[in-house]
């Protein structure tokens, strides 16, 4: 449940009466009825006449040499129509979102548990699975490298070597020292995105020799380009059609499914469908980077930061994927939203035989937040300051420098955010007389005992960048069409549940005054819009929609304005009516259109950024966003069970575009953060994934999700962003785990340096 209170909050648009529309309203999602009624089409629901079913054979070993693959027996099984291996990839054998270092099918090496080796198409899913299991693979099992610290000296796991990226950041004077020094070692586990719907897809061959992939892609053009290159086809012979997306927390799709699917469709000439099991989903897709962080903070006697030294080691798994981006964020934000005159960071992303890591919301920024906030708590304890106070003495503001040498030009109301959460009322203690009303840590199963419960309050400040960093060409294109008093938006930006289509409708309503706005589904016949990640679509795709809508507006109003001898700016459109400033002119949009259609297409491309140089310096980010969270937890100090009672959130949002959607994004984000803080860790001892199921991998349930109280949304416009709005989804994920850890520290007095927090780390006075 979320509560929005405090000044500048957002309820008025709900009270305004009439159907909500336009920017600032809580326009509901157009998909909501279909989703709640179960008729929204996800990839797993698709069907085509005469389809075949695919199954993928995956490596049971994290590291092995492939001596021999024999598919004869599988291919001869009744019902089997095709078996494909690395020998059957007509185009590029290697691919990758950033670096082409990952084979479509493992050829002579497998580098992680679950790596695809072959795929089968058959007339029944069970036949396909049985046939995949009947493929004979002779392995020479090798010792896996699973400790990232050992990856430096280990034999190369890949022709590209084990070091994916190293960033040494140097900012200020290395010899500076503070009066107080604290050190810490922090670990963050492997969070799985665990989307509600596992990966699925349908590939349909085309008569012209091409293929169409119906998948829940979050970056359809990039997926199409990879697929076309591997299939040896021109890009225009591969079409990616985006189906309903059942949950996405980063780069959703697993190429280990899309590519075999397309190959099998091309090979058999039949439609081929694939639905991953939950186990395959856990094995195949990218996880959050497990990270090891060593920190040393120097401060003066008043608690002002003097120097931060850090070593950050990201476990990338076997392939590079987005590790380079994650490392850049980790290094750049290593000191957090604080002013630090001297910062020295060594950051590495290394290859191991652990499950693959990649882009998961807030990557890099989250792990360092856990560490630098742990350090702030340590400094506070050492100096005898309140945890909120030491943070307040160091907050970053607009005009300050990041350790990358970039000046913060956007709003950075960090102090205001912290003040808002610090001053908010604390949730009441449960009424001691009525223990039944008290949801104790450990849950409803009755084990909790009020006498053993301690309450703790903790704080964290988080930051994350908006849009791709380090020179990524951020661009999106959108088309707006007006016809019969309605408008249609055509844009390849994928609705992942984040609310882009709702936002696009609001923008068009606002600019054109047309109520009925539809957004077409995305596919690669539309111009590229880029990935649904890092709040991009609010900015670049929202910006493109706004521009296109404004162009249509001009086309619509220009003839009228000319006729009445006034400029377009003097006309307003609202509720389908066009009026002039003086009230003389009043007509409707439909009348003015007079049966005509108006179309416009526009692009949005923010200013370019630089790659971090070899001392970690450069203007790498387009925008930044900040968040403060105060966590209140109850800990059963004998069992080590933790329940997050409340998270009070204050966030820097630029401008509230849709209040209800914004609250939902914050709730979703903090809940994911609570999951990482308390339970989510995909265990892979010696590289083998353990219990890849939703029983083995616990996620927060409704009882684990805390009350989320949005105490303040700071609406300071970011002047370079469309509508002045900032992306809102990632920064609550980044900040929440550190806030929970801080509160558990306060409740128990234990150091809490590892996430998820294990029960033994939250026990007080352990009996030995």
């Amino acid at each position: 449940m979320s509560v929005i209170d405090g000044p500048g909050a957002v309820a008025e648009s709900l009270a305004g009466g009439g159907t909500p529309h336009g920017i600032g309203s809580s326009l509901p999602s157009a998909d909501a009825p279909a989703k709640t009624q179960g008729t929204y089409p996800y990839a797993a629901d698709l069907w085509a006449e005469g389809l075949l079913w695919a199954a993928v054979l995956r490596s049971p070993y994290p590291h092995a040499r492939i001596v021999r693959i024999d598919t004869a027996e599988a291919a001869a099984m009744p019902g089997v129509r095709a078996v494909v291996t690395h020998e059957d990839v007509p185009g590029d054998a290697m691919h990758g979102r950033r670096v082409a270092d990952r084979p479509v099918f493992a050829k002579d090496m497998v580098r992680h548990h679950g790596e695809p080796i072959a795929a089968v198409a058959a007339d029944h899913p069970d036949t396909a699975r049985l046939a995949a299991a009947a493929i004979l693979v002779e392995y020479e099992v090798l010792e896996p490298v699973t400790d990232p610290e050992k990856a430096f000296a280990a034999e190369p796991l890949h022709p590209d070597g084990n070091l994916i990226r190293h960033i040494p950041l140097r900012f200020g004077d290395p010899d500076a020292v503070g009066e107080v020094i604290v050190e810490g070692l922090y670990r963050v586990g492997r969070q799985d995105p665990a989307p509600i719907g596992a990966e699925a897809g349908l590939a349909v061959p085309r008569p012209d020799g091409g293929v169409e992939l119906y998948v829940a892609s979050t970056d359809p053009h990039a997926d199409r380009d990879i697929a076309a290159a591997c299939f040896g086809l021109e890009a225009d012979h591969v079409k990616v059609v985006v189906t309903g997306v059942p949950g996405a927390l980063g780069d959703r799709e697993d190429s280990g499914i899309q590519l075999p699917l397309g190959l099998l469709a091309l090979r058999t000439g039949c439609p081929v469908k694939f639905v991953a099991t939950r186990e395959e989903s856990f094995l195949g897709h990218a996880h959050r980077h497990p990270t090891l962080l060593r920190y040393r903070h120097h401060a003066d006697a008043e608690g002002r930061l003097v120097k931060v030294e850090a070593q950050i080691l990201l476990d990338a798994g076997a392939y590079a994927d987005a590790s380079s981006d994650a490392l850049a964020a980790a290094v750049a934000f290593a000191a957090g939203p604080y002013v630090v005159p001297h910062v020295f960071v060594e950051g590495w992303a290394v290859r191991t035989n652990n499950p693959p890591s990649g882009h998961v919301r807030g990557e890099g920024a989250l792990q360092v937040c856990t560490a630098y906030e742990g350090q702030m708590d340590k400094l506070a304890a050492k100096l005898g300051l309140e945890p909120a106070e030491i943070r307040m003495r160091n907050v970053l503001a607009t005009g300050d420098l990041l350790p990358t040498g970039q000046t913060v030009t956007c709003p950075a109301p960090v102090g205001e955010l912290l003040k808002a959460v610090r001053d908010a009322d604390l949730p009441p203690l449960p009424d001691g007389d009525d223990e039944s009303q008290w949801l104790l840590p450990g849950g409803t199963s009755g084990a909790g005992e009020p006498g053993a419960v301690r309450r703790g309050v903790g704080y964290a400040l988080g930051m994350v960048h908006v849009l791709g960093a380090e020179g990524t060409d951020e661009v999106s294109t959108a088309t707006v069409r007006v016809h019969d008093g309605r408008a249609t938006v055509i844009c390849a930006a994928v609705e992942t549940g984040q609310g882009f289509t709702t936002l696009a409708r609001q923008i068009v309503q606002e600019v054109l005054g047309v109520e009925d706005v539809r957004v077409l589904p995305s596919d690669t016949d539309q111009p590229p819009a880029g990935p649904a990640a890092r709040g991009r679509h609010t900015w670049v795709s929202g910006g493109a929609v706004e521009r296109a809508a404004k162009m249509v507006r001009t086309q619509l109003l220009q003839p009228l304005a000319a006729k009445f001898g006034m400029s377009v700016e003097l006309l307003t459109i609202a509720d389908g009516k066009i009026t002039s400033y003086d009230g003389v002119l009043s007509t409707t949009v439909a009348e003015t259109l007079d049966g005509k259609e108006l179309w416009a297409t526009a692009q949005c491309r923010p200013h370019p950024t630089d790659r971090l140089d070899d001392t970690g310096q450069g203007d790498a980010f387009v925008g930044l966003t900040f968040c403060a969270i105060r966590a209140v937890v109850d800990v059963d100090i004998e069992l080590g069970a933790v329940r997050v009672v409340e998270l009070a959130v204050a966030q820097d949002v630029g401008r509230v575009l849709n209040p209800r959607q914004l609250a939902a994004r914050i709730e979703a984000g903090v809940t994911q953060g609570v999951g990482l803080a308390l339970m989510e860790d995909l265990r892979a001892p010696r590289g083998v994934v353990k219990r890849p199921s939703l029983t083995g991998y616990a996620l927060p349930t409704a009882l684990d999700a805390p009350d989320v109280r949005i105490v303040k949304l700071v609406e300071e416009r970011d002047v370079v962003a469309p509508f002045g709005a900032k992306a809102v989804s990632a920064v609550p994920v980044v900040t929440a785990p550190a806030a929970v850890a801080s509160a558990v520290r306060a409740a128990t007095g234990r150091p809490v340096s590892r996430l998820p927090i294990r029960p033994q780390a939250a026990i007080v006075k352990p009996q030995t």
Binding site: P78, D123, H124, D126, T277, T444, L639, A698, D704, Q760
Partner: protein
């Protein structure tokens, strides 16, 4: 050639009495009984099990309720967790009601049954430590005469279910004294037990019986700790215990269930488990004898 048809053929029988169900199983020895399906269908969906035929037990009214028999309750194997969690049942066998309330999310409790929980015999089966502490017995219906065996014999595999046999009833002595079930899980929401403790006071036999779930393949009974604590209780008087005694009991139970390995240090996970069992046992005893 298509392999589609042969794999979708499935044979489901829905008997309405125990006799019919036993007959159906006898007629189709390869058939598998299914009650709520919350364990069975998980295995089917995961492709681990492909039963040739199913005998559904959901329509057998006689095993979906309970009756009284000589100071004991005779519970139908088809009782759902949801039903056992209700107040009228909780007044009868409070610990089993508490276990049923904690056995998974509501959807699972509406379908999952006592019989399924026992036959699945998962280490984390929540009903199992309660049944062990209550020294329940199970009545098995089969092609030959029905037979009754202690639940522990079934769980340990000492006397397993024979081909064609169904679990029909569970006999539980009614003790009219405090009993508790406490379960530690990895999250606040529903989850499988990390450890659980069932504790019952039996004034007639002057016993305290305790069983620890989820730490081993079957529920463990710390018999020495039980006897020790029963000896401390003034059975004719107040029947209360000092907090120190409860703490000592917790330690005793925990050390018995997670014993020291001679010559090796307990791994951290085992130390943590032992602490959890100690806290749960102490709390369970404290609540029963407060």
């Amino acid at each position: 050639m298509s392999t589609y048809a042969q794999q979708t053929a499935e044979n489901v029988t829905l008997p309405t009495s125990l006799d019919e169900a036993v007959a159906a199983l006898a007629a189709m020895p390869s058939a598998v009984p299914v009650a709520g399906g919350t364990d069975l269908m998980v295995s089917v969906n995961a492709g681990l099990l492909r039963p040739a035929a199913l005998v559904g037990l959901g329509r057998i009214a006689e095993i979906r309720g309970w009756q009284y028999a000589d100071g004991a309750a005779l519970l139908g194997a088809g009782l759902t967790h949801a039903r056992m969690g209700r107040p009228d049942f909780a007044a009868l066998i409070p610990a089993l009601a508490a276990a049923a309330r904690s056995a998974g999310p509501p959807q699972i409790r509406n379908a999952g049954t006592l019989g399924g929980n026992i036959v699945s015999a998962a280490p984390t089966g929540d009903a199992l430590p309660v049944l062990a502490a209550l020294e329940a017995s199970v009545i098995l219906a089969g092609p030959e005469a029905d037979r009754e065996i202690p639940v522990s014999h079934l769980l340990t595999g000492m006397d397993p279910l024979r081909p064609g046999e169904l679990l029909a009833f569970v006999r539980i002595p009614l003790l009219h004294a405090p009993q508790t079930f406490l379960k530690a899980t990895g999250r606040t929401g529903p989850g499988r037990a990390v450890a659980s403790v069932a504790l019952v006071v039996d004034p007639a036999r002057r016993q305290v019986r305790c069983a620890v779930g989820a730490v081993a393949q079957v529920p463990l009974r710390p018999l020495e700790a039980e006897q020790w604590v029963a000896g401390l209780i003034d059975w004719d008087g107040e029947r209360t215990l000092a907090p120190e005694a409860c703490t000592a009991f917790g330690e005793y139970v925990a050390a018995a269930c997670i014993p020291d390995q001679p010559g090796v240090e307990l791994p951290p996970a085992a130390v943590q488990l032992r602490r959890t069992v100690a806290a749960l046992s102490r709390r369970a005893l404290g609540r029963a004898l407060a």
